[in-house]
């Protein structure tokens, strides 16, 4: 396999790595010499291996079989591509994160969740088989391989390079989404509406800049699949260069959020949207992460148990008061579904907020991580770039078991990443 030295980053672009990258185009050229990475849609350092090797799996993206609603794919296939191909045939991926550029390998590595988590559980719960490449050769595993399976789902790539996987798709009765949008005037209303929702898909968009009485205001989107032909999206717009750093300055962020809130009439509305508009709204502008300029940005995402909703309110309050947040804040209800030992989800509420990479924002994120720990919640490794081993201690109760399992599978730490080293995830506790 051919290696080249390059400097690369996760989606947030605030952390970078310099190391050797390979991008194999055929299976026999994939080696187990370093962690695999997908499309680097993780924000922090999960897909980075400084001074080491990493295998970019984005060119291993073929569909190798389909039977009875179960699709067998190479790990580099994106969820957007699976949606495009199977929606016409009456199926879609059961769990979809907010970007269609996530690969199947990355979706397994993070055990990602979607807007239907409270009903459908996490991505890994719909995977039926995984083939790994390891130092001892190829291994095909299923949920029956209890420990190795649960160490692989949400396992941050630490058990080997995922070559291919089988996924259970969901049969669908149409090719469009019917979306009902309602306004929530404040935090209490927002939570109330999320709790009351019975829709298969549900997400709250929060105006993270609104303070005082309006704190927590936003729009709740509830959706279900509806009849109508599926239409594949046309090519998106691009952000050509790094935006000047004023692009996301405070007044602009505020204006954006007000416009978003007022877009929906006070009495709410129901509209039809394409799958892509509903599931991957940000993908329309490719490389939108460049809007944050060269310094990049951080996303903070936590989940807290249902009875800690007030702690979450306090966090949002701190965010609103700081004036540092960007327009992209998301509040979701989560169910208990999780597929692996290091999976993020827990029953409760999850909040995700973006911050431009400035010192003040970093201090705030550290504080939010502390508040999350106090609320018995956890932070999401797909987004984190600020936490420390001490700050996350206890957040993942099965961390020690997982470390034992991956250290047994990969004793030489070949698949370790900047993230696992920064948080000492594989170390003794």
């Amino acid at each position: 396999m051919q290696w080249k030295t390059d400097t690369y980053a996760g989606w947030g672009r605030a952390l970078t790595a310099t190391g050797e990258l390979a991008r194999p185009e055929r299976s026999r050229n994939i080696t187990a010499e370093g962690p695999a990475i997908g499309n680097r849609r993780s924000y922090g350092d999960a897909p980075l291996n400084s001074d080491g090797k990493a295998t970019d799996m984005s060119r291993m993206n073929r569909i190798i079989g389909f039977e009875d609603g179960i699709v067998h794919v190479e790990a580099g296939v994106t969820l957007g591509e699976l949606t495009r191909i199977y929606a016409k045939k009456g199926y879609m991926p059961t769990v979809m994160p907010g970007t269609g550029f996530a690969t199947v390998g990355g979706a397994i590595g993070m055990d990602v969740h979607g807007k239907n988590h409270h009903h459908a559980g996490s991505f890994g719960q719909h995977v039926t088989e995984i083939t790994l490449r390891t130092a001892d050769g190829d291994k095909t595993i299923t949920p029956a391989d209890d420990t190795l399976w649960r160490a692989t789902i949400g396992g941050l790539g630490q058990t080997g390079v995922i070559l291919s996987a089988k996924l259970k798709l969901t049969p669908i009765s149409g090719g469009q989404m019917q979306v009902t949008e309602t306004r929530a005037a404040n935090w209490e209303q927002h939570i109330e509406r999320l709790d009351a929702s019975t829709a298969p898909y549900c997400v709250g968009w929060i105006d993270a800049t609104a303070k005082g009485d309006a704190m927590g205001r936003g729009i709740i989107e509830e959706a279900e699949v509806t009849s109508g032909d599926y239409e594949a999206p046309k090519g998106g717009k691009k952000v050509p260069l790094d935006a000047p750093s004023f692009a996301l300055s405070k007044p602009i962020v505020k204006l954006f959020n007000t416009a978003y809130y007022n877009r929906v009439p006070a009495e709410g509305r129901t509209v039809n949207r394409s799958f892509e508009q509903f599931f991957f709204p940000l993908d329309k502008v490719q490389d939108w992460n460049k809007l944050y300029g060269k310094r990049g940005f951080h996303q903070f995402q936590c989940v807290v148990p249902t009875n800690q909703v007030d702690a979450l309110k306090a966090m949002l309050n701190a965010i609103a008061e700081s004036g540092l947040a960007s327009p992209l804040a998301v509040l979701k209800r989560m169910g208990p579904g999780r597929g692996g030992m290091m999976s993020f989800p827990m029953e409760g509420y999850t909040l995700a907020v973006d911050f431009p990479a400035r010192d003040a924002a970093k201090d705030l994120i550290k504080e939010l991580i502390t508040l999350t720990a106090a609320a018995e919640g956890r932070i999401y490794f797909a987004k984190d770039s600020m936490a420390t081993p001490a700050a996350i201690a206890g957040m993942y109760p099965e961390q020690t078991d997982w470390a034992d399992a991956v250290n047994a599978a990969d004793p030489d730490l070949t698949f370790a990443t900047d993230l696992t080293r920064r948080l000492n995830l594989r170390g003794a506790k």
Binding site: A22, E25, R62, G65
Partner: protein
């Protein structure tokens, strides 16, 4: 009507993008190359995306005796026969300087091997009086230069062959398109710093437009047409002193 593409070099990343685009239109495929495991995955992928049929044939263009099953299969194709050639190899010029016997392999992979197969296919396509041949050459064939002139010479030979084949087959309604890519982001160029690089998908969009419009010769990325026009105009006394 059924449209079949015979793909030579089906493991190339450009070929894979081409196969996907045509699979979505329902085409059938005869995939040819050396890595049969990889081609089996591509055949499955083509079928998942809408291809009617995708079969795999092991061939090595350095061993023309491996062509017979492909030619037999071509004769039995119902509907339109088309062929796209992506085969080629580009060892470092320095490796060739150290071992001149490599030259034969480069010329076979990029020129005489595919030309042999196309020459056997030509009468079958002539009889059908329709179909398209896409031959992938390279901008490197437009002028010999320091960095890769053996590969360039093979591609130049292939381009001249395609020009003659076009002249011949045009009379019976078979179209021949010569494609001259500049750098394309594939494993062949991974780790090389190259100007005006395009993606396999964008190159394929250009190729398919060329097929549709029955163009004779196209460059992809398009910027390589003006660039090569200028490079070809540089007088030899000046050119021979340049190194790029």
């Amino acid at each position: 009507m059924n449209n079949t593409w015979i793909i030579l070099g089906a493991t190339s990343a450009i070929a894979r993008a081409f196969i996907r685009a045509e699979a979505e239109k329902g085409a059938s495929f005869i995939l040819c190359g050396r890595d049969t495991d990889d081609m089996a995955a591509t055949a499955a992928d083509a079928q998942a995306r809408g291809s009617t049929e995708a079969r795999v044939f092991p061939i090595d263009v350095r061993a023309p005796e491996t062509f017979a099953p492909v030619i037999e299969a071509a004769k039995n194709i119902v509907g339109t026969i088309n062929c796209a050639v992506f085969v080629g190899s580009m060892p470092e010029q320095s490796e060739i300087d150290a071992d001149p016997s490599l030259i034969d392999g480069v010329v076979t992979d990029s020129f005489t091997g595919p030309a042999n197969l196309l020459t056997q296919l030509a009468p079958i396509m002539e009889l059908r009086e329709q179909g398209t041949i896409v031959g992938v050459g390279s901008v490197a064939g437009d002028r010999g230069r320091l960095g890769n002139y053996v590969y360039g010479a093979a591609k130049a030979g292939f381009a001249t062959y395609l020009s003659g084949l076009r002249n011949r087959l045009g009379r019976s309604g078979v179209h021949v398109l010569t494609v001259k890519p500049g750098p394309v982001d594939t494993s062949m160029t991974w780790g090389m710093k190259m100007p005006a690089m395009t993606t396999p998908e964008a190159a394929v969009a250009d190729i398919l437009k060329g097929v549709e419009k029955k163009r004779n010769v196209i460059y992809t990325a398009k910027i390589w047409f003006p660039i090569m026009t200028v490079i070809k105009l540089i007088p030899e006394p000046v050119f021979k002193k340049l190194s790029f």
